[in-house]
Symmetry: C2
Subunit: 407 residues, 2 copies
């Protein structure tokens, strides 16, 4: 009898992944970053320094630091958060995670049961939405304005959930460089969001993974910095500020929460050598690196915005990015970005269709997310031109164009 | 209103973890390894070499290798498995995981539903048993003899599960350097286990994390090497052969299984820098390192066996370890090793009580697992003497002793 693997699997196994064929020619998806900005030599110096000094500690789980993560690294993270985001952390309030994706999973696992409801921005990181769906947790989208998640809409949404007899359980927000809109929540709004959370006695999950990428520098204090009763669980990452192939994120929370997250983290710890690579890099070198990276990202953001203006003209509605690595683009109602995604994929142009980044189908259908951080300026120009060609061919939009390729 | 974190959590949140207080003085638990054997400088060379050459690839998720892991690393793993374990892998049949613990979780998630039954050795790795309990999966212990899991007992156990109307779903085995018994399954027995699996059409999960640690060198071919129809999913690790603070493991499986495991691995990839550290180390250097490590482990194993002979005398039943990092010790019926564990912990001697490593309560109650890899020879001698003191005080066993501390 030959073995039938599928019949041996659980009920409803996931569809098989496709084998990897390399990146598409025009790669505007995901959270890839600028290759030339990677501080590879400095990371190698940090690893080598620590391995030469403390390498024998690799013989024990968690080095000599226990399961929360390498202590000098947690101290460096705390110092960075206090310096950059106005927080008041120390090594004990930090849990190092295997990327912020593990942080998301741990926090959702600790707080949420099937049927619970999470309040979040109506345009929201797709990985959050998919993780909530996997847990059979519902989510309700809250309106955004220029200052971020609206506090009045949040309050109203919570009341509506309660009126339906459901249990609002958590406020999830990306306040600083919101994904995908890039908006930065004002300090005043942060206080308002905390007030709403207090009013309804809900925890706030502050996902701050993009917070270092404000092109002009500076940022408002973290929501966690403004909270005084341990209501905010915070996560961050080095995927966006350094590079996503390094899988190191972190959670900052008060001990009543952190101790339970630690109990759920049964992975034997996060990789020691990844932590070593960042550990001696997080001070002044990191700040200088982020300043330089932001200059590069600004150049690429402008190149993409210019290319969209040129090739999509009045068909495209968007804000010129002042932060982050994404541009959130709205096209006319006639366009279905999920279909555009499929056709463009087959022609080497990768985009994130808005449906994956939205709580509402009609809102998401005409929107798409474009990452400008990884491609070169020239590749951005060519790719946006090609995307406009494809969009025109499929939907008759953009109508008018100066692009001779579309004549 | 002050925030009550616990009331905001899910139903039945886990108990909080304790904050870490450092390792106990006599640390005979877990899978810690020999500090002096860590090849820290060579790992630093490997990281630095690759970062200097390919560091800009950190800008993309998965480097330029896709989600299965860094391609040169997967090639090196495949080559190592083919060379050392008689397997026939290539980079496409390898999935790099964040430690073998992630491999366990992924494989259990793919194959098992609540109520399914897994067949495994009656003395078995505690992390496997706890993961199955968390999933509400049942397990049935199979007898072991000197050649490993008994094929006749396995067949009988499967038939009994079926007779009860339950669904046997997987055979899980640690055939090479079994945890905790240290036994190595003979090649003949491997063929017999495959035959039983075929007879009942079950997959085999071969957990081979300790397989490099046979003191005399050499090992039988992996079960996966002897299987011809893709029935075996295999996992390995570098925690035992290099050091557990490095969180890199791997799965080897045919594509119908591997592609689904990959679909379940939604962590953004395993840390690139961890993979780089091992990537250029896995050839001749690795083989020489393992030979040297085995010599050290043999010395420590003998020190522990001698100390047990000296301090426990005829009260202790055990096999002198010829492999691995553990000694599996049986004490007389009067001893309850779970109580011994509690008392010893409070006095700085850490042991793994047999109950956590067994499928049967009465079998586990009088057994314990001792790790000899991390402590020094002198620390082993002192710690075993102290453990005998505590055991004598609590249970009147060992009766006679040459240890003056107990006069």
């Amino acid at each position: 009898m030959s073995f039938n693997a599928e019949s041996a699997m659980r009920v409803n196994p996931p569809a098989p992944a496709q084998s990897w064929k390399g990146f598409p020619k025009y790669n505007f998806v995901g959270g890839h970053n600028d290759s030339a900005s990677i501080p590879a030599k400095e990371l190698a110096v940090s690893v080598t320094s620590i391995l030469n000094r403390e390498g024998s500690d690799l013989a024990t789980y968690g080095l000599q630091s226990g399961p929360q993560g390498y202590t000098p690294f947690r101290e460096a993270i705390a110092s960075m958060l206090n310096r950059r985001a106005g927080m008041r952390e120390d090594a004990n309030s930090i849990l190092v995670t295997s990327g912020s994706l593990q942080a998301l999973s741990l926090i959702f696992d600790l707080f949420l049961d099937p049927g619970d409801v999470v309040l979040l921005e109506k345009a929201c990181y797709g990985g959050t939405l998919s993780r909530l769906r996997t847990r059979s947790v519902e989510y309700v989208g809250v309106e955004l304005d220029q200052e971020g998640m609206r506090a009045d809409s949040l309050d109203q949404a919570i009341r509506q959930v309660k009126a339906k007899g459901k249990r609002p359980k958590m406020i999830y927000t990306i306040p600083t460089v919101q994904n995908p809109t890039g908006r930065v929540m004002s300090e005043a709004r942060r206080h308002q969001i905390i007030a709403v959370a207090k009013e309804h006695d809900l925890p706030i999950f502050e996902d701050d993974c993009y917070a270092d990428l404000i092109f002009a520098g500076g940022r408002p204090p973290a929501i966690r910095a403004l909270d005084d009763d341990g209501r905010v669980v915070y996560c961050g990452s080095f995927s966006k500020s350094i590079g996503p192939a390094i899988r190191v994120g972190f959670i900052a929370a008060d001990w009543p929460i952190l101790s339970r997250l630690l109990a759920l983290k049964t992975d034997g710890g996060t990789g020691a050598i990844e932590q070593m690579a960042l550990s001696e890099y997080l001070g002044e070198k990191f700040d200088a690196h982020v300043d330089s990276l932001n200059k590069t990202l600004k150049t690429k953001a402008e190149a993409m915005a210019d290319a969209i203006d040129e090739h999509f003209g009045a068909s495209a509605e968007f804000e010129r990015p002042k932060s982050g690595i994404f541009l959130w683009l709205k096209l006319p109602d006639a366009v279905d970005t999920s279909r555009l995604y499929q056709v463009a994929s087959s022609e080497g142009v990768a985009i994130n269709p808005g449906a994956d980044w939205s709580t509402e189908e009609t809102y998401g259908k005409k929107r798409l997310r474009l990452c400008f951080a990884n491609p070169s300026v020239e590749n951005i120009r060519q790719g946006i031109s090609k995307l406009a060609d494809i969009c025109h061919r499929e939907f008759g939009i953009p109508h008018h164009s100066s692009n001779t390729q579309r004549q």
